[in-house]
Amino acid sequence: MKKLKMSIAAVLLLAVTFTNAQEKKKMEHDHGDMKMDHSKMMNKNSDANAEAIFSDYFDLKDALVGDDTKKAAHASTKLVATLKAFDKSSYTKEQQEELSDIIEDATEHAEHISESAIDHQREHFKTLSEDIMDMVDITGTKNTLYQQFCPMYDKGSAWLSTSDEVRNPYYGSKMLKCGKVQKEINK
């Protein structure tokens, strides 16, 4: 009888630990899902929608430049919301398809960034940057942007910046000025 009791206790203990872990995970997820509060009241102009996405992307980039995981997570949570709010109806059918793919992929990366450690954030930021660059190709932008490139990170990685001064989001303070301007957009 004692043995039986012990094993019941053990099983239950196990169950409690598991559910706790599950719950904790869920909470983290919920946190990453706080999307709605930032879907700003912007006008229906699709360009403004795109600019909002770019603006969140730059906040994210700056956070990574500053080695700030928390800020990066926050910016990417905002980015998830602005990506969701994007209205592609004014684009051609082909562009719409491309934009859907871009947004789907970018959203996934942004979600991961909102719940990861900095190394992981940077890994996802690389692919996210490719998505955003492709997006700029389609939507255009009112600002002058600089496509910058770091040859060292993961066999070479690019990102976008509003300034021509290189501040490296892949290495942050470790190699702040590593990289070069690869392309100027709208200059």
Binding site: I8, L12, Q22, D101, E104, D105, E108, E123, T127, D131
Partner: protein, 150 residues
């Protein structure tokens, strides 16, 4: 001691009770045309690695362990598999856009490179799912080559 006994009995009843709650099973016999090995040229060795180490949570067919018959383990696994499949489903790889396929491939390589997948909580029970250094190398090489050719 009386209280302990009472609590014990209540818990025992609860434990037996939850055994009757059904869970959805992730099982399917068909290999869909969207499976990764149909749309890409996956070498046999790599395919075997995927199947033994990844498919339990990243496909529509799980080969369940015996203890899946016991609650709350079954719930736990169900949860796990749902999450795994929503992240990556090898059976439905062809349904992803080209852009996402590339993203997914990249993530596969980086997760394996960082030793994050397969999950240690999974390999502790499924020893055969553990990847050797050579197996990891094989997968990463194949993924990198595939991305380059995209």
């Amino acid at each position: 001691m009386k209280v302990v006994k009472k609590v014990g009995i209540i818990l025992l009843i609860a434990f037996v009770g939850i055994q009757f709650i059904p869970t959805k099973r992730n099982q399917s016999d068909v290999v869909p045309i969207t499976d990764i090995h149909v749309i890409y040229n996956v070498p046999k060795q790599v395919e075997t690695i995927f199947k033994t180490s990844c498919y339990d949570c990243h496909s529509n067919n799980t080969s369940y362990p015996w203890y899946n018959k016991i609650q709350p383990v079954a719930w736990l696994l169900e949860n796990h598999i749902d999450e795994g499949k929503s992240e990556l489903n090898f059976n439905e790889f062809g349904d992803y856009s080209g852009r996402r396929q590339k993203s997914k491939l990249k993530s596969i390589a980086s997760q394996i490179r960082d030793n994050e997948m397969p999950l240690s909580s999974y390999t502790i029970i499924h020893q055969d799912a553990k990847l050797s250094e050579k197996e990891r190398e094989l997968v990463i090489q194949w993924v990198d080559k595939t991305i380059e050719n995209l």
